[in-house]
Symmetry: C2
Subunit: 62 residues, 2 copies
């Protein structure tokens, strides 16, 4: 699941949801919903998340 | 732009928008909008497109 990959990458980078929110401009609640699989982000949001976490976007699909 | 990568990958695979639509279950108009950048697909749609074109989803972000 995409959300689990985001959470794994975020935790591997030692970032909190709060911090990724600040870095990406996304609301913390949005990140929670994405990580839990309750929301399917658009490619634009994927790019914001990947950039904030510091990984290539493709990694979040592996 | 994500859409241009989808078009490049589709054309490299010698597939028409029509055929990718049939393979993915997406409407041809949706594929046209994504490729032209007028629509930002969700990760679920990205997975359908990548599968239909026959590439790993990450390739569409490179």
């Amino acid at each position: 699941m995409f959300g689990a990959r985001v959470r794994d990458a975020r935790m591997y980078a030692n970032l909190t949801q709060q911090r990724v929110g600040e870095l990406s401009g996304l609301a913390r609640a949005t990140i929670q919903e994405i990580e839990s699989g309750r929301a399917a982000p658009t490619v634009d949001t994927v790019l914001l998340l990947a950039d904030a976490i510091g990984v290539p976007p493709g990694v979040l699909f592996e």
